[in-house]
Every structure is written in structure tokens, then in C-alpha cells.
């Protein structure tokens, strides 16, 4: 504080000269928060109860009370500090609210439709209720698997180029372009895949492989970034020891560097898959939608889980409740899939990861 405001003084009385300044007891914030919570609840019960009103009123009451009391007792600097602390805590609560609401909504709406039958039937010939996601799960696994098959070699080799061959000007360009690629909107990746496949298969092309290409555009930068980070963690001593034994560079990379970093690489790839498995827009454009099972990614439309959820919502049929139910259950299946992949990635890096002491 450049210009310290004087302590708030009683009107008419000159401020007493003190060497120490008062401070609130440690329990003051918690106590005042509880008091605000209670007071706000009382007001809410008297008028009409509303969760948001309760939260907002509690926040307002707490901020006003703590800043004025603190300003009285501790001075303006401490009072500003307490105000900011309250704001920072509120920001965190605000950020958690959508997460909790989302998880709760998806569980509440999705679980009732998540039956064994839902997982093992397709939408072939289904009108109204019934039907399931079997074809969409298979489609998602095929499209994403193929995308991983394309992206992992390219991404890993690029990372090796950047780390082991530290490529000079080309390397700097590649790094920059990988950064730019992480920002490509997914729908643009879909348009690119469409334009590419249109050349070979004519207008209106829809196939699983085109979806894989679109996902690869989104996945490659993730794989490069994470692999690069992991390869850089491999100690230079290991490489030097290998060179000292007369091992060629490529064998050093394949037999020493990659096995050392394998856990981190696996984690990175798993997270990249988890990142693209929920992509909807590009697949809506180029993989399309079908009601029955299609296990050939090179012919015809192929349903994937996100597109399935979207279409079940967009064209729910009549009555719409059955379609909405399918959309929520498919969303739940998708989230479970993503969380499983995240969990696997965490476990791999925890149990097989290098001990970096971080």
C-alpha cells in the first residue's frame, strides 16, 4: 500500500498512537462464515428458500462483516487481504459448482437407462423406447483405435526427432507448428478430413477411417508434447553410457531411451486417447450416423458414442423421453470410458513411472 489510509477513528476522537495492531482470532473467518450462513438461511426461510439466494446472501454478508470488522480491528491492509481471500475462495467454489452439477445430472439421468440390454443392442429397427449403444461403442473403439495407430508412430518419431536430433531450424518450426496444431478447432479437423477423402471417394463421403484421420490431426500434437516431455526426462548419462559401449544412436534410442521412458509414454498416449474419444463435431461430419453395426472403418457410415448421444438428443423420436434417456445413458457410458482411460494413465505413471522426485 503506497498510501496507507489512517485507521478508522471514532468521530471526534484523535487516533491513539499504538505500536501494535489488533488482530482477529484465528477462528474469526470460520465463525463469521458460519454466522453469515445461518443469518442468510434465516432470511431465506422468512422470504422464500432458494439455493442460489442462500449462497449469494451468505457471500455478501460474510464479505461485508469480515471487511468492516477487520478494518476496525486490524486496519485497511489486513481488511483488503481478507476481502481478497474471500473472493479467491468464492472463485474456487464457483468452479466446483458446475463440476458437481454436471456429475450429479449425468448420474441421475443416465443411470436409469444403463442396463445390460442398453450395452448389447444396436438401434437397428428401433422406434420409440429400447435400443442401445453396442454399435456406437464398437464404432468409437475402432475409430479411436485407428486414430491412435496413425498418431502414435508419427507423434513419437517427431518427439524423438525433437529430443534426440534436436533439429535446428526445422526443429524450431516443428515445435511451433505443434503448438499451433493444439489450437486447431475440432470442426476444422473434420472439414480437413472431409476435403481429403472427397478427393479419393467423391463428394458426400462418410466413413470411419475419415473420422480417424480427423482425430489424428487433433491427437498428434498431444502425443508429441507429452512424449517430448517424457524423453527429456531420460538422464543423459544413460545415453552416454550406451554410446561409450559403441552402440549406434538408433539402437540407443530404441533399446535404452524408449524403454526407460515407456511408462510416461504410455500415460501420454492414454491421455491423448481420452482427449479425443469424446470428440463429436469432426465425427458428425465425416463418420456420420447409422443405426446398425458396422465393423469396417473403410466402408459406409459408422456411429460413435458422442455422435450417438448428440443424435439421440437432436432427433429423439416420439415420444422424446426415450431418445433423451438414450442420450443421457450414452453420455454416461462415454464419461465412464474417459474416466477409465484417465485412471489407467494415472495408475501406469504411478506404478511404472520413473522416480523423478517430484
Amino acid at each position: 500500500m503506497a498510501t496507507a489510509t489512517p485507521l478508522l477513528a471514532e468521530p471526534g476522537a484523535s487516533p491513539p498512537l499504538r505500536l501494535t495492531r489488533g488482530s482477529l482470532p484465528r477462528w474469526a473467518p470460520a465463525g463469521m462464515f458460519a454466522a453469515s450462513l445461518g443469518a442468510a438461511l434465516l432470511v431465506m426461510l422468512v422470504t422464500s428458500f432458494n439455493w442460489y439466494g442462500w449462497g449469494a446472501l451468505t457471500f455478501l454478508l460474510y464479505v461485508v462483516v469480515i471487511t468492516t470488522v477487520s478494518r476496525r480491528v486490524e486496519g485497511s491492509r489486513r481488511s483488503t487481504d481478507r476481502l481478497v481471500t474471500a473472493l479467491v475462495f468464492t472463485a474456487f467454489a464457483l468452479a466446483l459448482l458446475p463440476l458437481l452439477a454436471l456429475v450429479w445430472t449425468v448420474l441421475r439421468r443416465g443411470v436409469p437407462g444403463l442396463t445390460f440390454e442398453f450395452l448389447t443392442t444396436t438401434m437397428r429397427g428401433v422406434i420409440g423406447a429400447g435400443g442401445g449403444v453396442e454399435h456406437a461403442i464398437v464404432g468409437t473403439l475402432l475409430v479411436t483405435g485407428l486414430a491412435a495407430l496413425i498418431s502414435v508412430p508419427i507423434g513419437l518419431l517427431t518427439a524423438i526427432y525433437l529430443v534426440e536430433y534436436s533439429g535446428g531450424r526445422l526443429g524450431r518450426w516443428v515445435t511451433l507448428m505443434v503448438d499451433v496444431m493444439t489450437g486447431i478447432p475440432s470442426i476444422v479437423a473434420g472439414l480437413f478430413a472431409y476435403a481429403l477423402f472427397e478427393i479419393f471417394f467423391g463428394p458426400g463421403v462418410r466413413m470411419g477411417a475419415a473420422g480417424s484421420v480427423a482425430l489424428s490431426v487433433l491427437m498428434i500434437p498431444f502425443v508429441v508434447r507429452s512424449s517430448e516431455e517424457m524423453l527429456r526426462l531420460v538422464p543423459a548419462e544413460l545415453r552416454e553410457a550406451s554410446y561409450a559401449l559403441g552402440i549406434a544412436k538408433w539402437r540407443t534410442v530404441v533399446k535404452v531411451v524408449i524403454p526407460t521412458a515407456i511408462a510416461g509414454l504410455t500415460t501420454g498416449v492414454t491421455l491423448a486417447v481420452a482427449r479425443v474419444i469424446g470428440e463429436t463435431a469432426p465425427l458428425l461430419l465425416v463418420a456420420g450416423l447409422t443405426t446398425s453395426m458396422n465393423t469396417d472403418p473403410f466402408h459406409d457410415r459408422m456411429t460413435t458414442l458422442p455422435v450417438y448421444a448428440f443424435s439421440a438428443f437432436a432427433t429423439p423420436g416420439f415420444p422424446p423421453e426415450a431418445g433423451y434417456q438414450r442420450a443421457w445413458s450414452a453420455a454416461l457410458v462415454l464419461i465412464i470410458l474417459v474416466m477409465l482411460l484417465n485412471l489407467i494413465a494415472r495408475l501406469v505413471s504411478r506404478f511404472f513411472g520413473p522416480r523423478t522426485g517430484r
Binding site: 475462495f89 489450437g183 475440432s186 476435403a195 538408433w250 438428443f313
Partner: protein, 321 residues
């Protein structure tokens, strides 16, 4: 190397270091690695090239052939406006919250909890956009609708709240809130990382002078992290500009340009428009959609490039000091 026989170590002959097979293996491997790097450049150039080539028919077509019978500039204009508008709303909401959350995790929460809390926020990033879309329509829109109705009744003299009020809550404000939630994790992650890199000595010096926690943050953490916060905001903006499905699902579209936040007639965004129109389009209409995609690509490219440039300049500075 005059010895006639290859040197042996107990167990068998050892291949000399410069044996042709080694050199060939190295050359092939180095070529593969460099090829992959070049392939990425080619891929990015290909994305740009294909979009341009496919856009040409739409750009040269007369306006009567295009969807809605308008010239391409008039077609893409409102969409570009809607894209920027929704992204701006998202950024306005997400920027202060993410800075707050990042500060909470880096400087306010108990050390032991920080990792778990950061992971919780990261979980938000893992949620697929189609799920955000469902959540936005079925949960968020009904929750926000009463608030928007209130704004429409009491503040309708402000152009943003001019009304008529949407009965479903599927407005551009709701779409902006959903986008804000979606870009929150990436912005928080970058801000948190930058805040944690504040030189320990700066913070301790401030503390030693008797600074409160807020003064430490204001005098050492925020100045240190400013460029990081800016680039985080721009990356978030890039995400919000390109996000498709959540907007396509949440927004009820009326077309045209309007700054009205709460009406049922909203401007659409480029990405959402592509997702909704593409499956039913053919002929020049497809080219027109690809051309709008090109516009989006250029916008996000510029935004991301600027963000990276800010980060890169900062990195040079840090390495130089």
C-alpha cells in the same frame, strides 16, 4: 585399423563402430524421425491448403447459388460476430474465475490439498463437449432462465437485456457460460503453473517486509505471471472460438447480428453452424461451409499464434536473465 581380424571380446566378434550396418540403421532412423517432423508441417500446410481449395467454389459463386441467397461476406459476417460474441462472454466469465482458482490452488489452499484440488479442476477438461451440451440444455438453461427473466424485466433499457426473454433459457448468455466452464480448466492450469514459478525469494522478501498475503500476490506473483495470464486467456479464447457441439446444442438460433444476451433469437457461431448444416448440405453449400471453416481456422490460428508469441518472448527473457 590394420588388424586383419575383427577385434573380439570373450563371446564373439564385436561390430566396429563405423560398420556400414550401423551407419545405415542410423541414417534410416534419423530419416524416419525427420520425416515425421516434416510430415507434421505438411499436415498443417495440408489443412490450410485443402480448406482454401475447397473454399474457392463458394468464394467465386454468385450469391444466388449460396445458402440463404446472400453473398459469402454477408453469410459469414453474422456467424463470425456470433463466434466472437460468445467467446468474449466466455472469456469475461472464465478469466477472473480461473485466476482466482489458480491463486487458490497455488497460494491459498493447504499444500497437501493443492494437488487433489488441481486434479478436480482438470477433471472438467476430460468431460466430452457433447455432455456439456446436454448439461447446458437440461440443467443450466432452466437454472439461468429465471435470472434472465429478471434482467429482462428490470434492466431492459440496457441493449444487452432488451428482450424478449427466452422461455427456454437457450440464449447466447447460457452458451457463453457453458463455454466458460469448458475453457476454465486449461486457463486455470496455465495460470497455476505460472504462479507456482514465482521466484520464492521475491515472495519471501515481500513477507519479510510485513506484506499481507494479498500484497505478496499483488507485488510479486501477479507481475511475474502477467504474460502467462495473458497467454492463458488467449488460449482459452482460441478454445472458445472453436468449440462446436456445446454451442450447437445449447443455442437457439435466429440468425442476424444482435447483442441481446437473453432473447430466443441468437446469432449462431461458425463452428455450430457447420455442425448443424453440414450433414444435410451438398454442392456449393458444402463449399460455403468449408469456407466459413477456413475463416474460423484463420481466426483461431492468429489468436493461438499471438498467445504462443507472448509465451515465447517470456521464455527468452527468463533464460536470458
Amino acid at each position: 585399423m590394420s588388424a586383419p581380424a575383427a577385434p573380439t571380446i570373450a563371446g564373439g566378434p564385436v561390430t566396429p563402430l563405423d560398420a556400414p550396418s550401423h551407419r545405415r540403421g542410423d541414417r534410416i532412423f534419423a530419416g524416419l524421425a525427420r520425416g515425421a517432423g516434416v510430415l507434421i508441417l505438411v499436415l498443417l500446410a495440408g489443412v490450410a491448403l485443402f480448406l482454401v481449395v475447397e473454399s474457392v467454389p463458394a468464394l467465386t459463386a454468385s450469391s444466388s447459388e449460396l445458402p440463404q441467397g446472400k453473398s459469402f461476406a454477408h453469410y459469414v459476417g453474422p456467424l463470425a460476430f456470433g463466434t466472437a460474441f460468445a467467446a468474449a462472454i466466455a472469456l469475461l466469465i472464465a478469466a477472473p474465475v480461473s485466476i482466482g482458482v489458480a491463486l487458490f490452488i497455488s497460494h491459498y489452499s493447504p499444500r497437501r490439498l493443492a494437488g487433489v484440488l488441481g486434479y478436480l479442476i482438470d477433471l472438467l477438461a476430460a468431460v466430452p463437449s457433447v455432455v456439456f451440451g446436454l448439461w447446458g440444455i437440461f440443467w443450466l438453461a432452466p437454472q439461468l432462465q429465471p435470472g434472465m427473466a429478471w434482467l429482462g424485466t428490470h434492466l431492459s433499457f440496457i441493449p444487452f437485456f432488451a428482450g424478449p426473454v427466452s422461455a427456454t433459457g437457450r440464449t447466447i448468455l447460457t452458451a457463453g457460460v457453458v463455454l466458460a466452464v469448458m475453457i476454465l480448466p486449461i486457463m486455470t492450469a496455465i495460470c497455476r503453473e505460472i504462479f507456482l514459478q514465482t521466484p520464492r525469494l521475491h515472495e519471501e522478501a515481500a513477507l519479510a517486509l510485513g506484506a499481507t498475503r494479498w500484497e505478496v500476490v499483488r507485488m510479486s506473483v501477479l507481475p511475474h505471471g502477467r504474460s502467462g495470464v495473458i497467454s492463458a486467456a488467449m488460449l482459452g479464447l482460441g478454445r472458445a472460438l472453436g468449440e462446436t457441439m456445446a454451442v450447437a446444442m445449447v443455442l437457439s438460433v435466429g440468425g442476424g447480428v444482435s447483442v441481446n444476451l437473453i432473447s430466443p433469437q441468437n446469432p449462431s457461431t461458425i463452428a455450430a453452424n457447420i455442425a448443424l448444416q453440414f450433414p444435410e448440405s451438398s454442392g456449393v453449400a458444402v463449399n460455403a461451409l468449408i469456407a466459413t471453416g477456413l475463416v474460423l481456422f484463420v481466426i483461431t490460428f492468429l489468436v493461438n499464434f499471438a498467445a504462443r508469441a507472448v509465451v515465447a518472448r517470456r521464455k527468452d527473457f527468463r533464460e536470458g536473465s
